[in-house]
Every structure is written in structure tokens, then in C-alpha cells.
């Protein structure tokens, strides 16, 4: 037969199916669409955000070949002079880049203090913008704002911007707004001399952009330069800053992609069950086609084509949906999927034709995989036997799955032990897929063994139901697998999120022992509490005890995001007090000051207890003995805690930017907050909160962050359930002949429906139990492998018992209801006609 012939068969089959089962068809297409849409929208949003971030970074450093970066407090400006005299440096621009605290807002503003003449060599756009106002910029209080900053701060040319330096407020004058093309991010631009003076950084800069003479090997120059720079000062390729953003969001993206994979897996499974059932139902028509001369491969291709057609429709819908979702997210939410890691403003949707095609192809491929097995099985059926009826070799085929099922389970368990790949838990995902597949393949065998164990109850309806299930293992296994796949994934996610929330809650409790907390705007480089301020705050009436901390960003590795250094506790012993430690050793006799690292430093940088950690402080590397590992859910890139004593000794900096306050009993926290604000110069900009409020707010943020996960999970479960109900109804329809026979031998209609209900309850109970077990196993992988490898923090395993019990009951009930409902529909037909139809 010709290809046209194959197509003809395919078209007839497909159209017939579409006409008969539009709902089922639709759900399958929707599941595939959801998977493709999720995957592609997450991809598009991230690409657009990263692209915007990359462009913004590029504008920030202009045409620099190398960016020399130091810590917040910078390095002596003499380094700039020395570099200027280095041969093969053709242009360089010194920068004092600070996150400046604003006096009347919680946000900070990035301020670039630069020499416009030198900066313009690397970024000609600056001159175009500033032009004739150059000389106004030399006024000590003059600042230019980028258009994004002007919009955010609602400031116009000539207006005043108040900034906080130490605890003093200083006024700057906005002398102009830069055009949007110069800098896309929110920032201010000052002359470097004014910035050094205003922000108490005389003699220091913290960034130097360099361009090398043509023909210089940039990489070897950079490596060479890197070895000559003081500790904590790094020579970076401009690309590194963008790459760092990619790294920071990687774990987050991968988890959203995981959800997309779940949806795709569900879709593939729905294609599989749809096709299996429809092949079963049409076995005689298919056999007839074979008898009429359609070859085995033609039939297989036609059936595979059915599945692919579902895939094409679903993927097409998914790709379009994905673009719509991505465009909406970019328009209405911040472009970084709300996780605050990227601060790129105004990202616009970037089309990615190649990737769109790839997502489309994945959707189609997934559907093809789902359709392959049933198509192959149907084509293998000897036509003569199939024409006679019965489900033929299906039972045997189902039973052979247990070997590969076991193999997949073993493989999955083994994969879970492998380390991450490039910081991503790729093997963890593979383990989940293998375990899921293995468990599904084992369903028929387990069902058969389980039903064999079922005792006879001498209740006619129940016993009939059990024997029916036993005889129709392949059908029941298919319905079961539908429930198992969606339910186990849901159970796994529920356990993981619950475990995380419980751990987070405990962690907050441990970390917030004080009554009140105060801090300067987070991430700012200019506002701080001097020793004097700290003393004054500590003696405010009503305060029993005050503890202050200094936090700052430190770059340990140029290819990674900076880590947070927390100096707390006046003595070595105080440092680890009230810290949520996981492991620690006593280091009382150690002459080296001690440090406590977060799990990220352990996982990502490979430090262990007992190691010596070199932290660049005050232009020198300082050695700290790692005495413990603590859990830090607040700082993804890692953090290290040292004593304030050691920090001050290394840097001479005795200021603080955070504090914990313990109140006398009966003291009103609002009154204390008011008095605290009056005590220091920039009191209004201080964030003051009670630990209780912060605890609650953190949990709210947690729940909000997972809201999208919950929503997607619910959608996946609804699709799964709908799939189940369609499976039930088509099974019931397929069994019309059987029902007719049962009626003939005297069973009441009510009894048949009761039998179906029993079957539904039995099947779904079994599925739920199986799903709970599988879900628990998957959640172990999620908690201990995927979470750990993505975020580099541990969480304690905890099972949300009550929600899972409720969910199980609802699911079993729904299955019973569905079974009854589909049975009613099937029985509405005349019994005689039903029997005749089969014979």
C-alpha cells in the first residue's frame, strides 16, 4: 500500500476517535499543552530577563575588556594610577560604585562615582547625555539619575535626593536625567571626586574598567593581572557578571522546569492510556483492517500517527500559550519570575525561534513515546484472534513489564546518589523519571499479585468486582497507573514543600530569639550605625539587652555570586550562640579566630569543619578556622559568620548595620521603636520590627513563593483526575457486552453499579496506597537530592499526614463516583443490544 494509503487509514482512525471521545482527546491535548507552555514560558522569561540583564551589564562597563573589582570599601586609588602606567592598557576608568542608602526610602540606589572623561572613552554615550552640563557635575552635591531611577524615585531635574551616610542624611541635587539608552537600570551618576568626599571614601575606589591595546591577549593579561592584585581585588571578564546572574537563577529555573516536566510526563502518560484504551476498544476494527490487507507497519504507523497528532496539537497550543504567559509575566511581574535575583528593568520578550521549535519537538516526541507501545502492541496482534474478541495478549504483555520495572527502580535508586552536574541536580531528575517509570511498569504485576491475595467475602457484588478486576488486569492497571502517576507526584511535592516549611519555621524561631530587630536598608554600602550610635541605641529605655551585627558582601570566587559575611557576637563564644548550627566542633584552644559557614559554602566551595578559610578583609587575606556549619535559608549564595571582635581587628570597622534587641517585660515595642528612631540621625530609614512580625512575614513570603507551585500542582492533578474519569468511562463503555451478559444472568442494574463502585474503590484505594508509597520515595529524592543540590541547604523530612489522608479519601471517593457515573451511562443502553453488539 502506498503512503497515501497509510495516511488514509490514519485519517479515518483519528477522525473517528475524535468524534467518539472529544473530551478525552481535549484533556490529553491540554496536558501536553500545559507542559510545553510551562517549559517554554519559563525559558522565554528567563532568556529575556537575562538578555536585558546582560545588556544592562554591558552598558554599565561599556567596552571594557577587564573589570577590576574590589570589596565594598574598595582599594587604594594608587592601584588605578599603577594600572594606568601598565603597558598595553589603552584606556581605563576608575569607579566608586556604591549601593547608597536613601534617607526617606527603604530601597537603595546604585551610585556610580566616575570620572566622566575617562568613562566616556569606554562608554561614549555618557558624553552625549551629559554634554554641556559636565561642569555642573563637578559640583560636590550634583547627581545625574538614569531615567529608570528618576521614574522610581519620582524625581525631576533640580529636585533634591537625600542619602544616608553613616547615620547622617546628606542632600544631593538632581542636575539631569540620563537618556534610557545610556543605562537601563536604576542608578545615579556622580563625579568620582564628589562621591569620594560625600561617601567618606577618600583615596579609595572599588572598580576599574580597563581596555587593552589591540592585539593584547586579554585572557592571559587578566590572569597575569589577577596574581598581582591585593587579596579581595579581582580581575574579571565583563562576561562574568552576566554569567553570575545566570548561575544565581539556575536552581530556581530548573525547579520550574521540573514542573514543566511533570506536566509533560502526565501528558505522555495520558497519550499512552488514551491510545491503549482506544486500541483495546477498537481491536476488532483494527483486526479487520489487517485482514483487509493493511500491513503491520502501516497499522503501527497509523496508530503512532494518532498519538503524534495529539502531540502536534498540544505542542502548538503550548508554544502559543507559553508566549502569551511569558509576555504577561514580563509585562506585569518583574522579569526575574519574582525571585529578586535580577534587577533588570524593562525586559521585553525576546523571540527564540530555535528554542520554540525545540519545545514543540519535545511535546511531539513525548506524545510519540506515549503512543509507541500501544501502537506496537496493536500491530502485533494476530488478526484472527483479535477478531474473535477478548483482550488477547495484553495480559501477557503487561506481565512482562515487571523485569524492566524493577530495573528502572534499581536504576532510579542508584541515580539519586550521583552528584550534581554543573550545580544542577540532573541525575536527581533522572532518578525521579526512572522511579516513576519503573513503578508504572510494575503496576500490572503488583495488581495481579494483590488481587490474588484478595479473600472471597461471599458478598456477590464485591466478589464479582474482584474477579472482574482480576480478569481485566490490563484495563485496571491502566486506570491505576493514571491515578498513581499524578497522585504520587503530588504527594512528593506536598511532602517536599511541607518539609521545607517546617524546617524554615523552626529555623526562623531559632534565628530570631530577640524581641525586636532593627537594620539599615539591606544591601546598602553607605548607611551604618557607628559605635556611638550602637551605644545610644542599647541604652534606650525598655531595652534589656542589645546585640549588633555587621553584614557585608565578600567575593571569594570571581565566577560565583558574592557571599555574605556576618560579624556577630563580641566574643568567639557569642558568635555561634543562637545560630542554627548543624554540626560544630569546639575550637576553644585555637589561636586562629573561628568561622561558621553556611551549607552552601560547604557544598559549593567544598569547605569542611577544621579547614582554614581565607577571607579578604581590609586588603589582606585573614585566616579563619571553620568550627561549624549552620543552616542559612536567607542567603542562597552562601554566608559565613565570624566574631565582631575578629572582624574589627581585621578591618578597624566597628560599625554595625543590624541589631537584635531584648526588651524588659511589659515594654511596648511600638514605644521602643519610636524612641529608637529618635536616637539616631537617620532613624526614619531604619527598619524596625518585632521578631514575631518578621517571622510571620517570612512565612507569608514563603507561601507566596510556593503559591505558583501549588497552583500548577492542582492543575496537574485536575488533569490527572479528568484523565482517570475518562479512562473509567471508556472502560465502562468497552464493557457494555459484559454488563449485558451480567444482566442476562440475573444481576440487577443496581448490583452492577455497585460492582462498578466497588471496583472503583478497590482500584483507587490500591492506587492511592501505591501512589503514597511511590510519592514518599520520590519526595526523598526531592528533599535530599534535588533540593539539596539546587539550593545547597538541607531540610528535615516531614510528612503532612492530615492533608494526605484527606486527599486520599477525596480521590477514592471521586474514583467511586466516576465509576458509578460511567456505569450508569453504559447501562442506559438496552442490554440485549449490548450483548448482540459483542457477538
Amino acid at each position: 500500500m502506498s503512503r497515501t494509503g497509510s495516511y488514509g487509514i490514519w485519517r479515518i482512525l483519528l477522525l473517528a476517535q475524535l468524534r467518539e471521545q472529544p473530551g478525552r482527546f481535549l484533556v490529553t491535548v491540554l496536558a501536553l499543552a500545559l507542559g510545553v507552555a510551562l517549559g517554554s514560558s519559563v525559558y522565554l522569561v528567563n532568556t529575556s530577563a537575562l538578555n536585558e540583564f546582560g545588556l544592562a551589564t554591558k552598558r554599565l562597563v561599556g567596552e571594557a575588556d577587564i573589570v577590576v573589582r574590589g570589596p565594598r570599601d574598595g582599594f587604594p586609588e594608587q592601584l588605578f594610577v599603577d594600572l594606568a602606567h601598565t603597558p598595553s592598557v589603552s584606556a581605563l576608568s576608575p569607579v566608586l560604585e556604591l549601593e547608597v542608602a536613601l534617607s526617606d526610602r527603604k530601597e537603595t540606589l546604585k551610585v556610580l562615582g566616575l570620572d566622566p572623561f575617562r568613562a566616556a572613552v569606554l562608554q561614549p554615550a555618557i558624553m552625549g547625555d551629559i554634554g554641556e552640563a559636565m561642569f555642573q557635575l563637578f559640583d560636590t552635591d550634583a547627581i545625574y539619575l538614569s531615567s529608570a531611577a528618576a521614574q522610581e524615585l519620582k524625581l525631576k531635574r533640580g529636585e533634591q535626593l537625600r542619602v544616608t551616610v553613616g547615620s547622617t542624611s546628606k542632600a544631593l541635587r538632581v542636575i539631569g536625567i540620563l537618556s534610557q539608552n545610556t543605562y537601563s537600570q536604576s542608578l545615579g551618576l556622580m563625579d568620582i571626586a564628589s562621591a569620594q568626599w560625600i561617601f567618606n571614601a577618600l583615596g579609595r575606589v572599588n572598580r576599574i574598567d580597563m581596555r587593552l591595546s589591540p592585539g593584547t591577549d586579554v585572557n592571559s593579561f587578566r590572569r597575569d593581572l589577577g596574581t598581582k592584585l591585593p587579596p579581595g581585588v579581582l580581575a574579571l571578564a565583563p562576561q562574568v557578571e552576566r554569567d553570575r546572574a545566570v548561575t544565581v537563577t539556575k536552581a530556581y529555573r530548573v525547579n520550574l522546569n521540573m514542573l514543566a516536566l511533570v506536566a509533560l510526563f502526565t501528558g505522555a502518560f495520558l497519550v499512552f492510556s488514551t491510545q491503549s484504551l482506544s486500541v483495546l476498544r477498537r481491536r476488532r476494527s483494527l483486526a479487520l483492517l489487517r485482514a483487509l490487507g493493511v500491513t503491520r507497519s502501516q497499522l503501527r504507523n497509523a496508530l503512532l500517527g494518532e498519538g503524534l497528532a495529539l502531540g502536534v496539537l498540544g505542542s502548538l497550543l503550548g508554544v502559543v500559550l507559553g508566549m502569551i504567559i511569558a509576555a504577561a509575566v514580563l509585562k506585569f511581574l518583574t522579569a526575574d519570575l519574582g525571585n529578586g535575583q535580577l534587577r533588570a528593568a524593562g525586559a521585553s520578550l525576546r523571540s527564540a525561534p530555535l528554542q520554540t521549535v525545540a519545545f514543540f519537538a519535545i511535546g511531539v516526541a513525548v506524545a510519540g513515546i506515549g503512543a509507541w507501545v500501544p501502537a506496537r502492541n496493536a500491530a502485533r496482534q494476530p488478526p484472527a484472534r483479535a477478531l474473535k474478541g477478548g483482550d488477547g495478549d495484553f495480559k501477557a504483555a503487561a506481565r512482562t513489564g515487571w523485569r524492566s520495572g524493577l530495573a528502572m527502580l534499581v536504576l532510579g535508586s542508584a541515580l539519586a546518589w550521583l552528584p550534581p552536574v554543573g550545580g544542577l541536580p540532573l541525575f536527581g531528575y533522572a532518578a525521579i523519571a526512572a522511579l516513576l517509570l519503573g513503578a508504572v511498569l510494575l503496576v500490572p504485576t503488583v495488581t495481579i499479585q494483590g488481587l490474588r491475595l484478595a479473600p472471597r467475602t461471599h458478598r456477590i457484588v464485591l466478589d464479582t468486582a474482584v474477579s472482574q478486576l482480576r480478569e481485566n488486569v490490563s484495563l485496571s492497571a491502566l486506570s491505576l497507573a493514571s491515578i498513581i502517576v499524578s497522585f504520587s507526584l503530588m504527594v512528593a511535592m506536598a511532602i517536599m514543600i511541607h518539609s521545607f516549611r517546617i524546617s524554615f519555621d523552626h529555623w526562623l524561631g531559632k534565628l530570631l530569639p530577640a524581641d525586636m530587630l532593627l537594620r539599615e536598608p539591606p544591601g546598602n554600602d553607605t548607611a551604618f550605625l557607628s559605635k556611638d550610635d550602637q551605644a545610644k541605641l542599647g541604652t534606650v529605655t525598655g531595652i534589656a539587652r542589645a546585640e549588633f551585627r555587621r553584614t557585608l558582601q565578600v567575593l571569594l570566587d570571581p565566577t560565583r555570586a558574592p557571599i555574605t559575611l556576618i560579624a556577630r557576637g563580641m566574643s568567639e563564644a557569642d558568635t555561634a550562640a543562637e545560630l542554627p548550627l548543624i554540626r560544630s566542633v569546639s575550637a576553644k584552644e585555637s589561636p586562629t579566630p573561628t568561622a561558621f559557614i553556611s551549607e552552601a559554602l560547604q557544598d559549593v566551595y567544598g569547605y569542611k569543619i577544621g579547614d582554614v578559610l581565607q577571607i579578604p578583609l581590609g586588603g589582606r587575606n585573614r585566616a579563619f578556622l571553620i568550627a561549624g556549619v549552620w543552616r542559612d535559608y536567607a542567603r542562597l549564595s552562601g554566608s559565613v559568620v565570624v566574631s565582631r571582635h575578629a572582624y574589627t581587628a581585621a578591618t578597624g570597622d566597628d560599625s554595625a548595620n543590624e541589631g537584635s534587641l531584648w526588651l524588659n517585660t511589659g515594654t511596648d515595642s511600638d514605644t521602643v521603636a519610636r524612641m529608637l528612631r529618635q536616637t539616631v540621625g537617620n532613624g526614619d530609614a531604619l527598619e524596625i520590627t518585632t521578631s514575631t512580625a518578621l517571622h510571620e512575614r517570612s512565612l507569608q513570603i514563603f507561601d507566596r513563593a510556593f503559591a505558583i507551585t501549588y497552583a500548577l500542582e492542582i492543575i496537574a492533578v485536575i488533569i490527572g483526575l479528568t484523565g482517570v474519569s475518562f479512562a473509567a468511562s471508556s472502560t465502562a463503555l468497552a464493557r457494555r457486552a459484559e454488563f449485558g451478559m451480567l444482566r442476562h444472568i440475573g444481576m440487577l442494574r443496581r448490583q452492577i453499579i455497585g460492582m462498578l463502585a466497588d471496583e472503583g474503590v478497590l482500584t483507587s484505594t490500591f492506587g492511592v496506597v501505591y501512589g503514597l508509597g511511590l510519592g514518599a520515595a520520590l519526595s526523598l529524592v526531592l528533599v535530599y537530592v534535588i533540593n539539596r543540590q539546587s539550593f545547597n541547604w538541607s531540610i528535615d523530612f516531614a510528612v503532612p499526614v492530615l492533608p494526605l489522608v484527606l486527599l486520599s479519601v477525596v480521590l477514592i471517593g471521586a474514583a467511586a463516583v466516576t465509576a458509578i457515573w460511567s456505569g450508569r451511562a453504559a447501562l442506559s443502553q438496552d442490554a440485549v443490544r449490548a450483548v448482540r453488539e459483542d457477538w
Binding site: 586609588e77 588605578f80 594610577v81 594606568a84 576608575p94 570620572d115 572623561f117 575617562r118 561614549p124 558624553m127 552625549g128 551629559i130 554634554g131 554641556e132 559636565m134 561642569f135 555642573q136 563637578f138 559640583d139 560636590t140 563625579d191 568620582i192 571626586a193 564628589s194 569620594q196 568626599w197 577618600l202 583615596g203
Partner: protein, 370 residues
């Protein structure tokens, strides 16, 4: 004094004479809020060398300006221009930062290359300090990063590595300094305050190397060196100026300028003429006439520049013809200024009598001087 295009948008590119044109146009446009005091130009202060060869930081603006003709080993004739400006901005002098822009340095260089058909040019602007850019007092020593002009013995060394071309030249004095105006005070307008201190070194013998892209060649030639400083603003009535400096073959030297008013009429003029015998004559406005001849229209900007002239300066009447027509300095992208400055040959009765430089500003839109 030599007018030049004023580099707007913050840079200044050419000498601006007319008392302060250069800087008045641009750098001097700063608000006088900080109240920086500038030294005035007053008569009766004869130059003391070598001290006056160096920087005068108490004045608002100052420049060292070299223009001249070069001959390559292959016999090509080229024009060149190397200029360093210093400007003292009106800033808060209390800022102790080493980056505080107490003085600004600007350098501009150009090469007139008939084979290329237009100029090679480059420019730099930097704040003085940290030993990376400065203008020293006591003797001529100005530099911006690797660009420098330094006096040592009887010679000046100019080193410039610009975008696509570079100079490494020695300029040797062959004549005594030409003291312009009345005892070195050169009037730029009807108001006596509009003046500058101004001396020139004509007939400097040039030798060194020149590179264009990667091609390096030895060059020799003759140049005109100006050093001028002042604190005054340009006359607001002025719209542009024409300037020439000519080294005559017989050893005579002529500097002459004319300032045009808003409607193009001459508003002020002046100059200095020193004969081959060393006889000096200061030219008053009535002694100087500029008559525009052939015009060349820039294909890039559409501006028509008179590139041929007849100039009467005292007893001399010379016609000027350019080395090439297109010696337009277009710095709109960086600065906004467009002007013509280039190498010219001087003719008397159709024979070449000397060579020099001609500067024409204010032929496009009116120069923005504020």
C-alpha cells in the same frame, strides 16, 4: 592668539582666542557659584622665561599650540597640529579628593594628509592629578597619559599616540620668541578686559617620526608654536574668527586674526609682523584685512568655508591656498563643534613666499559660547 573651534559639550578643541574663546565657550560657561578667583590680564608684566613657558594655574585658561608643515622621506607634504589646553574650573576647592578637578587638561591633534583627502584627528580630556595628566609650572611640561609636550634645552619634545596615527617630534627654536600685542598683552575685543598674555615661537625646526596605521616614516618640517593664557570671556557679539600664522621663506613671521560679529562684519582685528631683519610691528585693527576667496562646501556638513584668502597685514598682501580643501574638524559627535583648521601656502604675486596655518570658526551655526 588664535581663534579655534570651541569644543562644546565640555571638550574644547581648538585654541580659542579672542580672549577666552576657547574656554569661555565651554569651560568658562560654568556657574560662578563657588566663586573661584581668576587672575586678570593686565599690562606691565613682561614675560620672564623660562617661568612663563610653564603653566599659569591661577588663570582660567591656557594653551600650548603647535601647527606646522611636515615633509616625509618619500617627499609627501603634510600639515600637523598638536594642542594642549589647561582650564581651571569653578569648583569647590575644599574637596580633598585626589580626583578633585582643580585643573582640566585637553589635548587635540590632527594630521592633514592630501592622500587621505581629510584629517586624521583625535582628542583627550582629563582632570589634572595623580601624575596622570597635568601642566607643570616653571617650564613647558604638559601631558595627558601618554601624550606629552615637554621643553628641554632649546627643544620641545611632542609625543602623541593617537587613534590610527602617532607623532614623535622634536621642535627646535631657531628664532627668539615673538611677543604679541603690547608687551605680550593681546587685545581680543573693543573692551580692554578681553585680552590675553600671548607669545609665539615661529620657524621651529621639526624632526622626528610619524606613523599612520602601521606605516612609520621619518619627517622634517617647520612649525609655529603659540602659548597663550587668559581669564576673560569672549565678546558676546562675536560669532567667529579667522586666524593665520605664517612662516615666510625669508625668515619673516606673521600672526594675524580677525573677529567677526553676528552679521559677519569685522569686529576686531590684530596681529604681529616680524620682518626677516627682526623688525617687529604690532598690527592694529586698521592694519589687518581678510578677503574671502574660493569657497569649499563640506560634503559631510554642507557648511561653506572660504578656503582661499587674500590677507593684508601691514605692508604685506598675501594670498592663501590650502594644502587640501577638506581640513574640516567635525567633532559634533563628541563635542558639537565644527570648524576648519589647516595647512596653507602663502603666495605673493603667484610665487610661494611662505607656509602656515589657517583657522576658520563660526561658519556653520553660530558657535555656542554659553
Amino acid at each position: 592668539m588664535r581663534p579655534g573651534g570651541c569644543l562644546l559639550a565640555g571638550y574644547l578643541l581648538t585654541r580659542c582666542l579672542l580672549t577666552g574663546c576657547l574656554l569661555s565657550g565651554c569651560l568658562l560657561a560654568m556657574p560662578a557659584a563657588a566663586g573661584t578667583q581668576y587672575a586678570p590680564v593686565v599690562p606691565g608684566h613682561p614675560f620672564r622665561f623660562p617661568a612663563d613657558l610653564g603653566s599659569h594655574p591661577e588663570f582660567r585658561t591656557e594653551w600650548w599650540y603647535v601647527t606646522g608643515w611636515l615633509m616625509t622621506e618619500q617627499g609627501e607634504s603634510l600639515g600637523f597640529q598638536i594642542t594642549f589646553f589647561r582650564s581651571k574650573p569653578d569648583i569647590d576647592a575644599n574637596n580633598p579628593s585626589a580626583f578633585s578637578p582643580r585643573q582640566l587638561l585637553v589635548a587635540h591633534c590632527a594630521l592633514s594628509d592630501p592622500k587621505r583627502g581629510r584629517l586624521w584627528q583625535d582628542q583627550r580630556i582629563r582632570r589634572a592629578g595623580l601624575n596622570l595628566a597635568d601642566a607643570a609650572e616653571g617650564d613647558t611640561n604638559v601631558w595627558i597619559d601618554t601624550w606629552s609636550l615637554r621643553h628641554a634645552g632649546q627643544s620641545y619634545a611632542a609625543k602623541i599616540d593617537a587613534d590610527g596615527f602617532s607623532f614623535d617630534l622634536m621642535l627646535a627654536e631657531t628664532q627668539a620668541a615673538l611677543i604679541n600685542g603690547q608687551g605680550g598683552v593681546s587685545r581680543k575685543g573693543p573692551q580692554p578686559e578681553a585680552s590675553s598674555y600671548y607669545y609665539s615661537l615661529p620657524h621651529m625646526r621639526v624632526a622626528g617620526t610619524l606613523s599612520r596605521n602601521t606605516a612609520k616614516t621619518r619627517v622634517t618640517g617647520e612649525a609655529w608654536f603659540d602659548h597663550e593664557w587668559s581669564s576673560e570671556y569672549l565678546d558676546p557679539e562675536a560669532t567667529g574668527w579667522d586666524w593665520i600664522g605664517v612662516n615666510f621663506n625669508d625668515g619673516a613671521a606673521l600672526m594675524a586674526f580677525r573677529i567677526r560679529s553676528l552679521h559677519g562684519e569685522p569686529r576686531w582685528a590684530g596681529g604681529t609682523l616680524r620682518g626677516a631683519d627682526g623688525d617687529m610691528r604690532v598690527l592694529e585693527p586698521a592694519d589687518v584685512d581678510f578677503h574671502a576667496g574660493r569657497r569649499w562646501i563640506s560634503p559631510r556638513t554642507g557648511i561653506a568655508y572660504p578656503v582661499e584668502w587674500t590677507v593684508r597685514a601691514g605692508s604685506h598682501e598675501i594670498s592663501l591656498r590650502p594644502l587640501l580643501d577638506d581640513q574640516e574638524n567635525d567633532t559634533r559627535l563628541s563635542t558639537g563643534a565644527i570648524y576648519w583648521e589647516g595647512a596653507v601656502q602663502a603666495y605673493e604675486r603667484n610665487s610661494i613666499v611662505g607656509r602656515g596655518y589657517l583657522e576658520l570658526t563660526g561658519y556653520g551655526e553660530r558657535l555656542k559660547l554659553r
